[in-house]
């Protein structure tokens, strides 16, 4: 065994209060992380455990049957799935372009002017408005005059999504470094050209993923839809007139009924909704990766 010299310098971590503090902090962070994961995991586990047995091809594509019929597992959610996809899609078509354009205005054109400050402030306020208030708002200005429709539901969801899209898009646009804008100006580009050809493409990855997050959230909203689409049980392909249905409202109406079949259907619908949100997240990742191809 070769003799080892005593090292001339002791480079080990010095013992003392600092090391202990570091270890305590690390453990606290690990604990906090676990504490957050537990309810998340618990919710996922419960929904999957209770809803998985209900999911089947006939569930996803069939129509609902009256709730007092047994056995469990018969009946479908297709009208609700269709409703959720179409109404949320329509809300996205309304809210996302408006939100992105609003963010472009605030960040590129408005600067510190009064209109930009008002828009920024109002969108901050709107993020805090309860979703049911949005539903009541659309109820009073639209539904009372034009009746229940998927369109009204889309308006309500769009009101919910708009401030989120504005704020997240504005953050993404702020992250685009100024030297890129200067380089574009120095080549003789007009302001709109700079914004459309340099700033927007540089921020598009973050904008899209922010929009998809807002869409996923809106897909699960129940309260604003209660007053605007008036849950029915048949598929209503015409989203512009006539009451409609969505997964979230179906969960609500099924879960409040005492029948076992209804309970099972509610869990199945909940699992379907989570699966839709999950798919949207994956698409968001893929889209971001595709758009930020040139950023490295």
């Amino acid at each position: 065994m070769a003799a080892m010299d005593q090292p001339a310098v002791d480079l080990r971590e010095p013992a003392g209060w600092r090391r202990t503090k570091n270890r305590i902090a690390t453990w606290l962070m690990v604990l906090a992380f676990v504490a957050v994961l537990i309810p998340l995991g618990f919710v996922l586990y419960t929904v999957i455990a209770k809803g998985a047995s209900t999911i089947s091809w006939s569930f996803l594509t069939g129509s609902p049957i009256p709730p007092n019929v047994v056995p469990v597992g018969i009946g479908g959610m297709w009208p609700a799935i269709y409703g959720t996809l179409v109404i949320t899609g329509l809300a996205a078509v309304i809210a996302v372009p408006l939100g992105v354009l609003g963010a472009i205005y605030i960040n590129e054109y408005g600067g510190r002017g009064p209109l930009a400050q008002v828009v920024r402030f109002m969108s901050d306020v709107m993020t805090g408005v309860p979703s049911i208030v949005m539903g009541l708002f659309i109820f009073s200005i639209w539904v009372l005059h034009f009746g229940y429709s998927g369109l009204a539901g889309a308006f309500a969801l769009a009101c919910l999504m708009l401030p989120v899209v504005i704020r997240s898009s504005e953050e993404m646009l702020k992250l685009v470094p100024d030297p890129l804008r200067e380089a574009s100006y120095a080549l003789g580009a007009t302001k709109s050209r700079v914004t459309l050809t340099v700033v927007l493409p540089a921020a598009i990855g973050g904008i899209v993923s922010g929009a998809l997050l807002a869409i996923a959230r809106a897909a699960g909203e129940t309260a604003p839809l209660l007053f605007t689409i008036l849950t029915v049980t048949a598929t209503n392909p015409n989203v512009f007139s006539g009451a409609n249905t969505a997964l979230s409202t179906q969960i609500f109406s099924n879960a409040t009924q005492p029948y076992l079949g209804a309970q099972a259907r509610a869990w199945g619908a909940a699992l379907t909704l989570i699966a839709i949100a999950f798919i949207l997240m994956i698409v968001a990742r893929m889209v971001t990766a595709r758009f930020t191809r040139y950023s490295r």
Binding site: P179, E182, A183, Y185, A186, G188, A189, T197, R293
Partner: protein, 293 residues
Amino acid sequence: MDSPEQNVVASAQLPKPAALQDTPQDAFATSTGTSIFDAKGISIYYGSFRAVTDVSLTIYENEITAFIGPSGCGKTTVLRTLNRLNDLIPEARVEGEVHYRGANLYGSGVSPIAVRRRIGMVFQKPNPFPKSIYDNVAYGPRINGIRNKAKLDEIVERSLRQAALWDEVKNRMNKSGLGLSGGQAQRLCIARTLAVEPDVVLMDEPASALDPIATGKIEDLMHEIKSQYTIVIVTHNMQQATRVSDRTAFYSVLVNPDSDTRTGTLVEYGSTQQIFEDPQDPRTQAYVTGRMG
């Protein structure tokens, strides 16, 4: 009796700067004598703060003019005034007259877009777009309306050859512009600027973030394109100024004792040989001999 200037070396005794001893004297070889920029007593303000005062000079066609001086003396501010890039700063304003080829650069009805198409700029820190190398260089021609793929290919290749970058990137034109080294990225930015075939190229310390070899390549580039473009370069590096420029403008700082603000001003402007071998102003003398700045 001691002469009051005994602390200042008499100009005739200044040693010749090392660079001027070796560099072949091709100064003014391509100059045509036409005045490109004519600045008369311009002052530049940011809000109420006067950043630069009383600058008057003339920049001539197909020459390389260097702006030298210590930090904070307004060189970059004056440079950005020449292509109206200071317009992007809301509180900035220019007093005095700047003429470009006889036309008032800040006259009413002058479009900054048209100005910047003719007067391009390369920045201190390379700023390639997060697009492919091809799209970076083709950006300028595209926003000028050129859509024909063959024409764009030709312009891109020509610009990259002029920037001495073609051989290094010709096989990866579709890769991101952000994946290049610092020297390559700066040459890409130069190629991007040359692609729109401007009249003047303004360079704000283009090599300050680069190693000596990359710097050498950029200086060679400047010599190559001197016959086609007018170049104004801001540099901290006096040797670089002696290596590349035909004329040199020396800026310095005036300190206002009451408000403790610093305002930049043009001290001396002349041929590079004269500025470095025979500076007239004592401040210039002190700076080029290394005793200040």
